[in-house]
Symmetry: C2
Subunit: 451 residues, 2 copies
């Protein structure tokens, strides 16, 4: 045991350029795969052992899918690529002069090329004390925490009803009307109104209220106005109460303050803001106000041609508009790194990156989605066609044949039987603010604003 | 919201006998189902929202299956049985005089019949300080903790090797050679030697050592001697080092003391002892030394004909031998409660319970198991025939069509591709004792006893 089964590539083959990729998301993985055939030694560093297919994370949060359906070990994904090693480790510093990445263990990892693709995290706009009250959705752990809270709310209501004959109102408040907020609100409404109808004896889960609050004038602000309107209409049809122009000014365990009113909330979820991963700051390069690193059309920060910043961490302007922080550009940027390094190794000029926008989609609920299609045709779709497109595209991009089969099976099962396969509550069995609402007694919770 | 959608059965229909079932395991679920057609009102109380199919829990621990494959909400399983309500709540006291169950909320739940089926938990034989060092396997949470530790050990070894060129030896120590210990040891050996071979660049996972320690003279002590010998031979073939007659006398983070020697251990697992759930003590009835409630052949403790104790919590002697604490007798006892209550309601004498033993099985690893078959033929099987029987029986008894499909798919996939679908590390990324072993430096760990 413990013998060196292969030489450390970045030590033993020092003649080959050493590429360090930080982050195993869409951008990092595509960068690693794009380097498969180049004479370089690649180290992928991620603090987690798994790649997460983020577009389906909300389905783990709402008990449709299991974590393993949408996550896979990074080293398993890259197992057949011999020039890649994977290191589960935290990056703490970057020395751009010496070209070394400082790891939590104290080890400094030298690089010839650095690919930084550590993505984004939640932003509470300086109100970090809101984080435990209103979890966001970025990781498997986040998804399991949301699942725990949503399922627990129904269990506690049923228990309270059985034991005392009343329960605090089941208001679920989702803050932020972007794609994640819309997905979460629609999915909570679905599970309450369609998937748990026959499971309770004392509460009526279909009477749960789902409130989607957004400070802006419309949901899905990054989409064309007609699709925002369609999305709002579809949300309303699913029973979600959409409150645009509603700014959240305060929050506590069991309540949210918005539009001058206190809304009681059994579960509050945060989908209002993202900020760049703090690793972007380590480069000393110019950042935008969300902390994203400004890059040129070769994906380099100014004056650092050996460093590539990709995906949600990069701020790239193209045709006067910022390339959005979603999966597609991240994948394309990852792929582009391979082309640039191939050019470098061949002594050719570096090709410029251009984001090819095939469109964008947001799912809303059972048989409801909106899609802005840019390629191969230009179109705005909503309802069933958008939903079918969404399903197809997401299955196609899931990593691994097993996961595709497993997700399709879970979807077909869930669709036809109106049950959800992963309704497990694990961990802590308390809900923040629940006891306060119970102690306040019947009627104290008041009514949330009517839509 | 909040209206009473159905009357509280035990309040509104006081003329029907109220049956309270505590515990949603095999015994409790079978008891609830057996009461489906009787004019009684049933309340199933469990502190978890889900039933866990315990025989496959070790496959969650070793990343073959996802938690949702083997667990389902109790209220979903019983959703179509209108005389059942499910309460997720902790039981704190039982008043056998007043016939009330005291809940954590302070509410007291009246019963006419009480079914107590809360199972068993780990016993560290008074060394509760060992619990965080060597987790056992009883719940989904336990399984995820074991999965986290086992997978993390390989990741940390790879990291240590990459960064410093050596790593502490990958010794996995399983304490206890009963069915759970044998399953865990075989499954760790399988994942290390077969399922992760191509994933690491710096360590050779096939060189991990798995040690199974048992203080008794043979593994699977409850099985016939020939099957114990077969099991030990199959374990050895899988690469597990079996040490019988080896008593564990001490434990710390990263090591186990046994047979006067300190064995370094990156992950220590506990499968050495079980004790009855503490709820058995609340009856004031006679207990055996593991805390199991002594019951007669009507499954009642002495003098308490309205109370049934079932499954692992019950101590029942039949033909001079104790009925074992496994799934089959638990199910049969659950079924029997329905027969007894039907007799009571009809004014007939209560039928006696008799455990019908169809046999018992333990799985060891890929294509290895032992089976003591009692019905329809009497036989001792090992190897492939036992393993195929084991697979078939476990698929048959899994609750829910969806879970059967999902488990079969995961098994087929895993079997043919040599990958495991659920290799996720979530939660804390530290391993108890790892830093101590690293700090001690190469060679300090010494060698575990040779088999």
């Amino acid at each position: 045991m413990g013998e060196l089964t292969e030489p450390l590539p970045y030590q033993a083959q020092a003649s080959r350029p050493r590429v360090v990729i930080v982050g195993g998301g869409f951008a990092g993985l595509h960068a690693a795969k794009g380097l498969a055939k180049l004479p370089v030694d690649v180290t992928v560093v991620d603090r987690r052992n798994h790649h997460t297919f983020q577009p389906l994370l909300y389905q783990v949060a709402l008990a449709v899918l299991s974590p393993a359906d949408i996550a896979q070990p990074i080293r398993t994904i890259l197992r057949h690529q011999p020039n890649v090693q994977v290191l589960m480790e935290e990056v703490e510093s970057i020395d751009v002069e010496e070209r070394r990445v400082g790891l939590a263990s104290g080890v400094r990892l030298p690089y010839d090329y650095l690919v930084l693709a550590t993505g984004a995290t939640h932003s509470y706009f300086g109100r970090e004390d809101w984080a435990p009250l209103a979890p966001g959705l970025k990781s498997i752990e986040d998804a399991l925490e949301i699942r725990r809270r949503v399922l627990l709310a129904f269990e506690l209501a049923e228990r309270q009803m059985q034991e005392y004959g009343w329960h605090p109102p089941l208001n679920f408040v989702v803050i932020g009307g972007g794609p994640t907020g819309v997905e979460l609100a629609g999915a909570i409404s679905d599970i309450a109104k369609l998937y748990m109808r026959h499971d309770f004896r004392h509460i009526d889960p279909t009477k749960a209220r789902v409130l989607l609050l957004d400070s802006g004038p419309r949901v899905l602000a990054a989409y064309p106005e007609d699709l925002s309107a369609k999305a709002e209409a579809e949300l309303t049809k699913l029973g979600v109460e959409v409150h645009t122009g509603t700014h959240v000014t305060g929050m506590g365990p069991g309540w949210v303050e918005a539009a001058g009113k206190r809304i009681y909330s059994v579960v509050t979820l945060w989908a209002a803001g993202v900020q760049a991963s703090p690793l972007g700051r380590l480069l000393g390069a110019p950042l935008d106000r969300r902390g994203c690193v400004l890059v040129d059309d070769r994906l380099n920060p100014p004056g650092l041609p050996e460093i590539f910043v990709l995906g949600d961490l990069a701020h790239l302007d193209q045709d006067g508009r910022e390339v959005p922080g979603v999966a597609q550009p991240a994948m394309q940027m990852g792929d582009h790194v391979g082309k640039v390094l191939a050019a470098d190794l061949a002594g050719l000029p570096r090709p410029a990156f251009r984001y090819f926008d095939k469109g964008d989609m947001a799912t809303i609920g059972r048989m409801a989605a909106v899609a802005k299609v840019e390629w191969p045709i230009k179109a705005h779709w909503s309802g069933l066609p958008a939903w079918v497109t969404w399903l197809t595209v997401h299955i196609f991009f899931l990593i691994g044949f097993r996961n595709r089969i497993s997700v399709v099976a879970a979807w077909v099962w869930s669709y036809f039987t109106f049950t959800r396969g992963a309704r497990l509550i694990t961990g802590d069995q308390r809900l923040p603010g629940w006891q306060d609402q119970v102690a306040a007694g019947p009627g104290a919770a008041g009514d949330p604003p009517q839509s």
